[in-house]
């Protein structure tokens, strides 16, 4: 593998790491916010569980973010992964 290919793999890898970290940051913010909402709900009498609405609504967005961070790859990623496998074998 030449330097250029190595640089390309490194760059893709770094982008992937950044994409995944961004997702976990999103997850942390979602979790912290919703814990706070549950606490507010609990100390105000634990009546109708209204906290579920933001939790689930935002949860859809969070799941979508997770899918794009971990499951989706663009064409370039697929091409590079295939080349990496070919070079390894």
């Amino acid at each position: 593998m030449d330097d250029f290919a190595r640089a390309a793999f490194r760059e893709r890898e770094a982008k992937k790491v950044i994409r995944r970290r961004a997702f976990w940051l999103h997850f942390a913010i979602w979790a912290a916010t919703n814990v706070l909402l549950v606490v507010v709900w609990a100390v105000t009498g634990a009546g109708f569980p209204w906290f579920l609405f933001p939790l689930l609504g935002w949860g859809i967005g969070l799941v979508a973010h997770g899918v794009s961070a971990y499951l989706f790859a663009d064409v370039d990623d697929v091409v590079l992964e295939r080349e990496e496998r070919r070079l390894r074998d």
């Binding site: 030449d2 330097d3 250029f4 290919a5 640089a7 390309a8 760059e11 893709r12 982008k15 064409v75 370039d76 091409v79 590079l80 080349e83």
Partner: protein, 153 residues
């Protein structure tokens, strides 16, 4: 940020760059593209290398071992593809120039004011006057710069 390349344009641009430059390795090709397109496009092996692999897969270019690296050259179908559609590089370069980054003068002045190392120091009236004079001179020079027409490459 606006994208400089539309889908498929990078591959065509790589073919054109190979046609102009002759056989080249990845870095040399990226250099050719960067020079033609200008500073708006940040060259990256992560974008160019997959394009090279795809073109190789399609049989448009070939690669030969050259020292520690690979040298790419146009194959006949690639040459035909360049002949069919020239001008992609020019088009991309034109687009890149039109989305060139522009900055407010105020942003530059703010940056100067907020990063100058002496900004927290206190001065007496005499020094204040001298600094005011320096800034008045700078303001005049900036006016002179602003009065000149901008370079349009």
């Amino acid at each position: 940020m606006t994208r400089v390349f539309r889908p498929h344009e990078l591959k065509q641009a790589v073919l054109e760059a190979l046609d102009e430059h002759g056989p080249a390795n990845g870095y040399a090709l990226m250099q050719v593209l960067a020079e033609r397109i200008g500073p708006t496009w940040r060259p990256s092996p992560g974008a160019v290398y997959p394009a090279l692999l795809a073109l190789e897969d399609l049989g448009l270019i070939g690669a030969t071992k050259d020292g520690g690296g690979r040298s790419y050259h146009l194959e006949p179908p690639g040459r035909a593809a360049v002949a069919r559609d020239t001008g992609t590089l020019d088009r991309v370069a034109r687009r890149a120039r039109s989305i060139e980054r522009r900055t407010d003068v105020g942003t530059l002045l703010d940056r100067f004011a907020t990063t100058h190392p002496s900004r927290r120091r206190r001065v007496d009236a005499g020094t204040e006057e001298r600094i005011d004079a320096v800034l008045a001179g700078a303001a005049q020079e900036i006016n002179a710069v602003m009065a000149e027409p901008e370079e349009t490459p």
